[in-house]
């Protein structure tokens, strides 16, 4: 009977630990779909033709397009704040994407383009914050929480499964005696 209860407790605690670890790992994912949308007035904007400096050849260049996409997915849209400028349908995001493409076409390196946007919008514009300084908390905290949870689980499970101490003065009861 005691064995069954101990086993159930162990299984339950391990399941709970995994659930906590899973939710922590998911919370680490930076793209929040529940980000406030339409909070800024970009909705009613009439569509304006984007005037760029790209030639037709550059507009249809698959290599440039791929480079633009790989950079645009890293930059946050200022209007739909949980989305990248690659995914956001907002006018401003499209225009920022056009700026990315133009700057890449003009010979700037991806890092230079990224730094341009950081200089305008701050590091906020990066969907994944740089892993340094205070930002390290974002990367370290989930790992620390999972490790802490594991230690806690081990402690609690060992406590549950430990043989109860024999009260002083009483005769230890074992199955062998009866």
């Amino acid at each position: 009977m005691t064995d069954v209860r101990t086993f159930t407790r162990t299984v339950l605690s391990v399941a709970a630990g995994l659930a906590i670890a899973g939710s922590v790992v998911r919370a680490q994912a930076p793209a929040l779909s529940a980000a406030p949308e339409g909070a800024l007035q970009d909705s009613g904007a009439p569509r304006v033709k984007v005037q760029g400096t790209l030639t037709d050849a550059q507009k249809n260049d698959p290599v440039l397009e791929a480079a633009t996409r790989s950079l645009a997915v890293q930059l946050r849209c200022p209007v739909c704040q949980g989305e990248s400028i690659q995914d956001s349908p907002s006018e401003l995001a499209q225009q920022m994407r056009a700026v990315v493409k133009e700057q890449l076409a003009s010979g700037k390196s991806p890092d230079e383009v990224k730094n341009y946007f950081i200089s305008k919008y701050g590091e906020w514009v990066l969907l994944e914050p740089k892993a340094r300084g205070f930002n390290l908390i974002v990367y370290m905290l989930p790992v620390l929480l999972v490790l802490g949870g594991a230690v806690f689980l081990v402690y609690i499970v060992r406590k549950w499964t430990a043989v109860a101490p024999v009260p002083a003065g009483s005769t230890p009861r074992t199955g062998d005696e009866e």
């Binding site: 406030p36 800024l40 009439p46 984007v50 401003l92 225009q95 700026v99 305008k120 919008y121 906020w124």
Partner: protein
């Protein structure tokens, strides 16, 4: 009552509650701008709405920020589809008119809109005292790290971004900022001749 357990629970819950409480005091939509204190991004944009009286600039004229060195610049990004822009329009227009003849340039920048709609909006609002320029493709808006309208930038006489205001401005804010920036410009260069002799940056002359 198990005091040990209660205190562990309290110690665990307190930081989380504290974090959430701090989060409630913050506006998730506001993005801190890195621009104040830095050189203002330069631009050359065409006037589509000329403004009135002394402040008028003919439509089609190109306004270059580099030509506005030595004056305080109030750069207001707006659009005809923006509701909050209606709230600040009269204040901006009136304040700009009251500063006519002084070393300050008010400039509207149309954001993600078409000039015809902008002109119609100005007429509907009863006119705008200062000129507005068009920003095709929002290139200048992105250069200023814009994320919505209205946003107003106050540039000092040396061409640096002194302050950024998000949302509709009030007459008091505009007057306070413009007055302090004009005073700072006067302090840096007591008279045009003194500024000429000291070069572009009078402070640099003192150091050497």
């Amino acid at each position: 009552m198990n005091w040990k357990r209660a205190s562990i629970a309290a110690a665990t819950a307190a930081p989380v509650i504290g974090l959430f409480a701090w989060g409630l005091t913050r506006d998730p939509n506001s993005i801190p701008s890195p621009l104040p204190g830095r050189e203002a991004p330069v631009f050359a944009l065409q006037v589509f709405a000329p403004g009135q009286g002394e402040l008028m600039r003919p439509a089609g004229d190109t306004v270059r920020l580099t030509d506005l060195r030595g004056t305080v610049v109030v750069l207001n990004f707006w659009a005809s589809w923006c509701l909050a822009c209606r709230d600040e329009h009269a204040a901006l227009s009136d304040v700009a008119r009251s500063y006519a003849g002084q070393p300050v340039q008010f400039l509207g920048v149309l954001y993600n809109d078409v000039p015809d709609k902008g002109t119609a909006w100005i007429a509907e609002m009863g006119g705008q005292s200062y000129p507005s320029v068009d920003d095709p493709g929002a290139r200048v808006a992105i250069d200023y790290g814009l994320y919505g309208v209205p946003e107003t930038f106050f540039l000092d006489a040396t061409g640096r971004v002194a302050y950024k205001h998000t949302g509709p401005v009030t007459a008091a804010v505009v007057r306070f900022k413009v007055d302090s920036l004009m005073a700072a410009a006067l302090h840096a260069a007591p008279s045009p001749t003194a500024a000429d002799t000291a070069g572009a940056n009078p402070k640099a002359g003192k150091v050497q």
